[in-house]
Assembly symmetry: C2
Homo-oligomer: 430 residues x 2
């Protein structure tokens, strides 16, 4: 039987939880009109009294203990927005086991435990929705996992971390160095006090694991994703890239191989200015995918923030409410029905940008070119970019080559006594 009411419990009253509370309170009439169901916020939980009271909810709707949500039979859907694996995992498991739908924005939890949690949801006849877990307000999970699911995706390229895109955009526009822009981003609230998860690419890797499950129809272990951050990107490299018509972006990349394996990697990339992703600036996110039927498709928007993330969470609640209105349940998203292997990084083929300082001496380029040649690396462009009294700066672009061969060549080049130092390596192919 269709029920006219869907009770909601929100676990976590931080930024995102506060946004969900705000939307559910402000939009109750709209949600009823659109879904046919009264979506009723029954409880918001946080261990932090200050966060609870910041929601502005009456005390009767607030609780310190998540059991207040799990034990309420009138709560049909639990919104988990505390983040991290513990205690989120056990709370989500408890909610599913209690026959409650769960909507989560928790990328780490979904990336690490998505398959088990979805299996648990199926076992208990409920749904686990996670649209907000990747790219915030952009409805990319549903798009890849369902609307576009007729396609075999060839490539998936995502700017999925707003903090690093904000930093790289400012570095590009202002010629500033990473450390100073990071400090400013921290002041503005765009970067956390401990920026590791963002700037070292871990946040992007979790999101890629989730997006890749949707696009390539397979669960992947996020630990198999080769992950590099943006700490080593310098103003110098961004300036040179700009001269060559490139923008440096931290990309989350998935690429299907003909043998069924999939490349999954997160690292800075020189993106050509004319590529749609090059125009994705500031804290915006975008996912660009190429499907065998749909061709190129891109979804762009705010990947984080209180209200965009709450928009995605309430979108999932709308789906549950629409189903409840007619007595059915929402189809449970798969987290991939196949088991595909990740291509080892050494086998990945791409183009490279290499910057190094060398001694100003005849024969240097010949020595470098010889090592590249021995390793099968073919050079597409060389430029002497700047010179000091001690050294000359060389910028080298390669043709497409395997990562292992390139790294072997660079190791050999680094040992040449005419090479003062290898300053930067950035992959240059989308």
């Amino acid at each position: 039987m269709a029920s006219a009411k869907l009770g909601v419990g929100v676990i976590g009253c931080g930024t995102v939880g506060g946004g969900v509370v705000k939307l559910l309170v402000a939009e109750q009439a709209q949600l009823r009109r659109k879904t046919g169901v009264t979506v009723e916020l029954r409880k918001a939980v946080d261990t932090d009294a200050a966060k609870r009271s910041a929601t502005g909810l009456p005390p009767a709707l607030l609780a310190e203990d998540a059991n207040a949500v799990l034990a309420d039979p009138e709560i049909g859907v639990v919104v988990e927005v505390i983040g991290g694996v513990n205690p989120a995992r056990s709370l989500v498991e408890g909610a599913l086991a209690a026959g409650k739908h769960v909507v989560t924005a928790n990328k780490e939890l979904v990336a690490k435990h998505g398959p088990e949690l979805l299996a648990l949801a199926r076992k208990h006849g409920v749904t686990l929705h996670f649209e907000a877990s990747s790219c915030g307000g952009i409805p990319v999970i549903h798009a890849l996992g369902q609307s576009l699911a007729a396609n075999r995706f060839e490539t998936l390229l995502g700017i999925v971390n707003g903090t690093t895109n904000f930093i790289l955009t400012k570095m590009h526009r202002e010629g500033a160095e990473f450390a100073e822009v990071l400090a400013e981003a921290q002041r503005l609230g765009y970067a956390e006090a401990d920026p590791t998860a963002d700037v070292d690419g871990h946040d992007a890797a979790y999101k890629l694991a989730i997006l890749a499950a949707m696009a390539f129809d397979s669960h992947f272990d996020y630990r198999d994703i080769h992950t590099e951050g943006i700490r080593n990107i310098s103003a110098r490299d961004i300036a040179i890239a700009k001269d060559y018509g490139y923008v440096v972006k931290l990309l989350a990349i998935g690429a299907a191989h003909a043998d069924g394996r999939v490349e999954l990697r997160v690292h800075p990339v020189l993106v050509p200015e004319e590529h749609p992703l090059a125009a994705v600036s500031d804290a915006f996110n975008a996912v660009f995918a190429r499907g065998n039927y749909v061709g190129d498709v891109m979804l762009y928007g705010r990947g984080a923030g209180q209200l965009p993330t709450a928009s995605a969470i309430v979108g999932d609640i709308i789906d549950l409410a629409m189903h409840q209105a007619q007595g059915g349940t929402s189809p449970r998203m798969n987290f991939g029905t196949q088991a595909k292997a990740v291509v080892p990084m050494g086998e990945v083929r791409t183009q490279y940008y290499l910057r190094l300082d060398v001694k100003d001496r005849p024969g240097v380029l010949a020595a470098i070119a010889r090592i590249f040649g021995d390793c099968g690396v073919s050079i597409s462009a060389v430029k002497q970019a700047a010179a000091t009294t001690e050294s000359v700066e060389l910028v080298i672009f390669t043709h497409e080559v395997g990562e292992a061969a390139f790294q072997k060549a660079v190791a050999g080049i680094g040992k040449l006594d005419v090479v003062v130092g290898v300053r930067a390596i950035i992959r240059a192919h989308v």
Copy 2:
């Protein structure tokens, strides 16, 4: 009870129908894996024997009469891809009345009869899906109507017609005139022999009616959409716009007013180069929307073509199959739960680009400026763009002003004896 099989009948074996057949045949294993249901193509129908045989299907799966689909109890979903209102409407009604789900790509049918057809679907406990009816492969219907449905949308800006975008892109890049680019587009198959529906904006108006229903939660009569096409856009105007940092695009525009009414209009617009829509080139489509929670969001991809459109249709079939796998039905999309009025075009406020030829005589600008002033139109820039022996070309940009006031001023200006002719009016605000 969940059924393990979903029979599909395709009505229409033209370009899109042929694509749907191709996908269903090629992807049966993938669809079974992803949905848990065997999606079985049981019948493809066309009155044209050549189109039937072009599908490559065995004769047993082909029929001339759509009743072969409606009468087959094993067919659970009917794909309508014949286009136009007749006989599509009665076929869709017949399928819904027979308790079959319908998936349609028919923008005209959905724009004109969406509410009645959705009501009929509800009455018979089935679903009418129409993701492919607007913007082909881009999953914009689901995004606006469900994933992002928590939002109140402030604006919706769409490049929703690939033919006109292809033509305008070529005119922009090559400096060519409309007529010659149209002829080339017709040779390449990007424009039809009778290009009226595309170049005069009617196709875009149907799509805007559908998108606006999703975004603004109200059915609108497509006849209330002010619609202008691109026939009057000249190479000269595109070149001048380019100089000022604009790209000319045919936009489908929706904008919510504070009083609950909605602006709906299709016409060429000068789009600033830095706007995300300016980079949407060739036959690509994009929908840019601003929601009160999600902020700016854009969906980009192929809005037409055999396989992108088939991708969207099969995406709708996947939704139906996933629901059937668990014995439920898909929530029926609303076509707006409110009744909002369309703002009359005269009340719309925007900026304008005006190009006119005037006699090279003192006092001309004063005469023009006086009429603008009398009508409350304020000028932001004037440029004498070119001169011949007979006349001088004036380009005028206005500040934001109401359409009625601007048109009244232009009518007066056109009657001045120093004005040789009003050559172009293009709205210049997004």
